[in-house]
């Protein structure tokens, strides 16, 4: 397995995630797409760590996972709260901060 395969997979995953964030309305799906993008980045990081034989990439990947976990907690709580008050999880309906 060459590095290129890992990187291509990561690129495909990132693209799927980015497109999902841009085109989907459901906040949960958007959220999952963001996670997908984070994980594609993690994949890239560990790939390079392996190829160069250093631990830096793995270290950053751990940080990303920790931050992602925290972010999931807060993000899901916000989505829950919005859903409870507005009976909808569409990101297009959440525009009050515009004003």
């Amino acid at each position: 397995m060459t590095i290129a395969n890992y990187l291509v997979l990561a690129a495909i995953l990132f693209t799927i995630g980015a497109v999902g964030v841009l085109v989907r309305r459901n906040a949960i799906v958007v959220f999952m797409c963001v996670e997908l993008m984070l994980n594609s980045v993690n994949l890239t990081l560990v790939t390079f760590a392996r190829s160069t034989g250093t631990l830096d990439g793995q270290l950053i990947a751990f940080f990303v996972m920790v931050v992602a976990a925290a972010e999931v907690v807060v993000g899901l709580a916000i989505i829950m709260s919005i859903y409870r008050t507005r009976r909808s999880a569409s990101v297009d309906d959440v525009n009050l901060l515009k004003y």
């Binding site: 980015a18 964030v21 841009l22 958007v30 990101v91 297009d92 525009n95 009050l96 901060l97 515009k98």
Partner: protein
């Protein structure tokens, strides 16, 4: 003119100004607490000032050198400008301080009765005191700057007193008119002072008069003309005469003190005081003569047509001050005559105004002479005192006006040449017109059948009002004889104006006296033919000759002022307002509108859609990544 430092009582002459000023301060700052005794304090300070003035004059008369200065303090010292505040007491200022405090004290006493029922009596006395203080500063100051401070002070007091009944629109308007027209003159005076400082570096009388001979002729003429402009504004002389009759909206004691006896004669004082300047500039002196001659005719003609008793007296004042200007314009031959006429005029015109005030007091503030008539029996004291003032004014033989007005006419004739004949003729004609309008006033007010409005019950005024009238009437009778024959004013003023030269009489004085008296009798007779013989209509006749129409419109002075100054001024302000709205505001508002518009357009980019923001971030990230790649590979 030699001066020396004051000693003895003369060094305390600053009390003259300080006393009334302190009175004004107490009354204005004390507020309602001083209501009960404010008028007594106000009168007391002026009476005290009169006592000081008499004492100072006696001391001055006892000295060899009749010109002393009192240095007070440094007023302004900056760069080359060094103005010392000081007083100059010489025969001329002594004459004025006696007139101001003497007549002022009488009028204060009169006002106690006249203003007894006015709720603003304390304020009235405060302003009167302020006026007396400013007027004394005007005549006692030893520099043009001190004179200017007093000059503006009397202007302020005049404004406040004309608008004393400020709830009346007419009074408020008249006060503004007086103030603005005075500003026109004051600009002239201020420019004259600037010119003196620029050219001579000093503004004190001693400094200016000592060096005026070194100046170029044009500069001296400019100074003379600018001083004349200031004098015209303050004294209601042509072309700035229109404010004075309107100023009669103020209470009558104000008309008597400020707009007849003292303030309006400040212009005469200014020109007489500036005699050394005018000695250097025959041109400016000729203009003074012309202004005096024109004004004395305008005042006399307009005085014939008005029915408002105070306005007739006001135009009479304008006319009489015209005589004084004529006199001081004649130069050394006329100074003493002009000042003498100023003094006697101060007596009889103040008396006449107080009499008019007494009549108004009796007639419920009616001023229309067509509504008077037959008041002689109801107001005997007023009638007699007013009658004596009237006789003095028209120049009845051996009363005050006869002596002083004849002296002016003689001096005008003695000028010689055609100008002497013209000026003398104008002065004699003015005397005839004076006799006409004053007789008309007497006939319409005191004689004939009553034409009173229903419900008016005339009654004589209280003693506090009649006593000053009696004293002024005595002055009207005797002052001229005393000042011309017994204690010649010309001798007293000699240290100021120099030795009066022996005039080469063109016409013998006796002939002048007879002619003037004949013209005066003619005026009286004409008035009797026109007014006394028949019943006076209660309303002014509408069908009259164009001359009367013009005179009733004050010879179109207001019309001319409006056409020449007011309308172009209004056009100018309108153009400026337009420029301000469209030009200045346009730029400012345009900038604000452009910024506001562009920001609201930019604000539309904030859609509120999370996904479009995400697209923006993606685009940005791609751009940054692309740039990074481009930079690293290049």
């Amino acid at each position: 003119m030699e001066t020396e430092a004051a000693t003895g009582l003369l060094s305390a002459s600053w009390l003259l100004i300080a006393l009334p000023l302190a009175g004004a301060a107490v009354l204005l700052l004390g507020g309602r607490r001083t209501d009960r005794w404010g008028h007594l304090l106000g009168t007391g300070t002026v009476v005290a000032a009169f006592v000081v003035a008499v004492a100072c004059t006696v001391q001055l008369a006892g000295r060899d050198e009749r010109s002393v200065t009192v240095d007070l303090f440094t007023f302004i010292r900056t760069g080359n400008l060094d103005v010392q505040a000081g007083l100059l007491i010489d025969p001329l200022s002594a004459v004025f301080m006696l007139l101001i405090t003497g007549v002022g004290a009488l009028i204060h006493v009169y006002s106690i009765g006249y203003m007894a029922h006015d709720p603003g009596r304390r304020r009235f006395f405060a302003y009167l005191n302020l006026f007396v203080a400013a007027m004394l500063l005007l005549v006692l100051g030893n520099s043009y700057v001190a004179l200017y401070v007093g000059w503006e002070g009397v202007g302020l007091a005049s404004y406040l007193l004309i608008a004393f009944w400020y709830t009346r629109p007419a009074a408020a308007t008249a006060a503004k008119k007086a103030f603005i027209m005075n500003r026109v003159g004051d600009v002239g005076l201020a420019l004259a002072i600037f010119l003196m400082f620029a050219q001579l570096g000093t503004t004190s009388y001693a400094g200016v008069f000592g060096q005026v001979g070194l100046l170029a002729g044009g500069t001296v003429t400019a100074i003379g003309l600018l001083l004349l402009l200031g004098a015209c504004g303050k004294s209601g002389q042509f072309p700035l005469q229109a404010w004075l009759p309107d100023a009669m909206e103020g209470p009558t004691p104000v008309s008597a003190l400020i707009h007849a006896a003292t303030m309006v004669t400040a212009g005469v004082y200014l020109i007489a005081r500036s005699a050394p300047v005018y000695d250097e500039t025959p041109t400016a002196r000729t203009v003074v003569l012309a202004v005096g001659a024109v004004t004395l005719l305008i005042g006399a003609i307009v005085g014939c047509a008005y029915d408002d008793i105070k306005k007739v007296l006001a135009y009479s004042t304008v006319s009489q001050i015209g005589y004084m200007f004529l006199a001081v314009g004649l130069g050394p031959a006329g100074y003493a005559a002009g000042i003498a006429h100023l003094l006697t005029h101060g007596f009889f015109k103040a008396g006449l105004f107080l009499g008019a005030g007494s009549v108004m007091h009796a007639m419920d503030d009616q001023v229309d002479m067509r509504r008077f008539g037959g008041l002689a029996k109801r107001l005997p004291v007023t009638f007699v005192t007013f009658g004596l003032g009237y006789l003095a004014l028209i120049g009845f033989p051996f009363l005050s006006g006869y002596w002083t007005k004849d002296a002016i006419i003689e001096a005008a004739l003695d000028r010689g040449g055609w100008s002497g004949w013209v000026l003398g003729g104008v002065a004699v004609l003015g005397a005839g017109l004076t006799a006409f309008y004053m007789t008309r006033l007497m006939l319409m007010t005191f004689l004939g059948r009553p034409r009173w409005e229903p419900g008016v019950h005339p009654h004589e005024s209280p003693p506090s009002m009649t006593a000053p009238m009696v004293l002024l009437a005595v002055g009207s009778v005797a002052a001229g004889f005393l000042l011309v024959q017994v204690f010649p004013l010309a001798d007293w003023l000699e240290p100021v104006f120099g030795e009066p030269e022996e005039a080469a009489h063109v016409v013998a004085p006796a002939v002048v006296g007879v002619v003037v008296t004949a013209v005066m009798a003619l005026g009286v007779l004409t008035a009797w033919l026109f007014v006394g013989r028949r019943e006076v209509p209660a309303t002014a006749p509408a069908r009259v000759s164009p001359v009367v129409v013009a005179a009733r419109r004050a010879l179109y002075a207001d019309t001319v002022n409006e056409a020449l100054f007011m309308r172009p001024g209004m056009w100018l302000t309108r153009a400026l307002v337009w420029l301000d709205n469209r030009g200045v505001d346009g730029v400012v508002n345009g900038t604000a509108a452009a910024l506001g518009g562009s920001s609201s357009r930019l604000g539309r980019a904030q859609t509120g859609f999370v996904r479009s923001y995400a697209l923006g971030m993606l685009g940005g990230a791609v751009l940054v990544a692309g740039a990074l790649v481009a930079v690293t590979t290049a």
